[in-house]
Amino acid sequence: MGVGSFFTSKLDEAIGWARKYSIFQYPFVTACCGMEYMATACSHYDIDRFGAGLPRFSPRQADVLFVVGTISQKMAPVLKRIYDQMTEPKWVVAFGVCTCTGGFYDNYATVQGIDTIIPVDVYIPGCPPRPESVIDGLMKLQDKIATQTQRF
């Protein structure tokens, strides 16, 4: 390994470590999964432990888009616009089966998985997912953030 690549890989690691503990989420909450999101976000499960304790209610200040709840076809352009407004680097979490696949809403109104509209990094299944699954998904996202090639 050359000296140059040694330094960039170490720098990557350092930035990855910093980024994985400063997750500012944008909760895009549309349905019942929101209750479980709130439960997870509150003190009992304390996602501040993962540096994800501060939701931002502006997409321009957020790193991670939490899509929480059913996305209807009518809502899809709004979700896409929110995603487009977020600045890089950004990640997306699909929270609950509705966002992963449409869930049991196999009908005229519901988007059959938000990955038909925007890229998704972590899928958290469950209807709604238990807080443990959410934290598991969050930790998987942290791993992904820490090990990816950092752009800055």
């Binding site: 076809q73 009518k74 899809a76 896409k80 196999d106 009908n107 005229y108 509209i117």
Partner: protein
């Protein structure tokens, strides 16, 4: 008033325009001719002994594949009325054919009918003549067809963005 008395009162008043009445487990239903619908609704609202001041719900049913109703009329438009003063209820139905799926509006009687009728138009494609602003309520403007009709394919999607499925 008991359901039977309500129906009797309406039968006495509207006679031949009443297509059918029935009572099942305390739910009284009046099926009325379309031409008399608004008069019947207005009578229900304004007649003191009836006093149906609340339009609880306005919806429709598609009987296209209902045993015995395959040959039409295809739709029932259903009005659920409630009287706060009398604490009694009645259901008023009107039958419409597919080719002529239109009903006079009830917005003048109960302003809440505005959104109910928009919803029925959106979901079933029943037109409400005289409605001040008959746009879709739930689905988007670009949506083609009426989602709760029995012949709307269950897996037909009309995404605004993303892949056309």
């Amino acid at each position: 008033m008991q359901g039977g008395q309500i129906l009797q009162r309406l039968r006495d008043r509207f006679g031949g325009a009443v297509v059918d009445t029935h009572e099942h487990r305390g739910d009284a239903t009046l099926v009325v001719d379309r031409g008399t619908l608004v008069d019947a609704l207005r009578f229900c609202r304004d007649e003191p002994t009836l006093g149906f001041d609340v339009l609880m719900d306005l919806t429709a049913v598609d009987y296209q594949r209902y045993p015995g109703r395959e040959d039409g009329p295809r739709f029932d438009v259903v009005y659920h009325l409630y009287s706060l003063a009398q604490n009694h209820r009645v259901r008023v139905k009107v039958r419409v054919d597919e080719d002529d799926a239109a009903v006079p509006t009830a917005v003048d009687l109960w302003p809440i009918a505005n959104w109910f009728e928009r919803e029925v138009w959106d979901m079933f494609g029943v037109h409400f003549s005289g409605h001040p602003d008959l746009r879709r309520l739930l689905m988007y403007e670009e949506f083609v067809g009426h989602a709760l009709r029995k012949d709307y394919p269950i897996n037909r999607r009309q995404p605004l963005i993303g892949p056309k499925q």
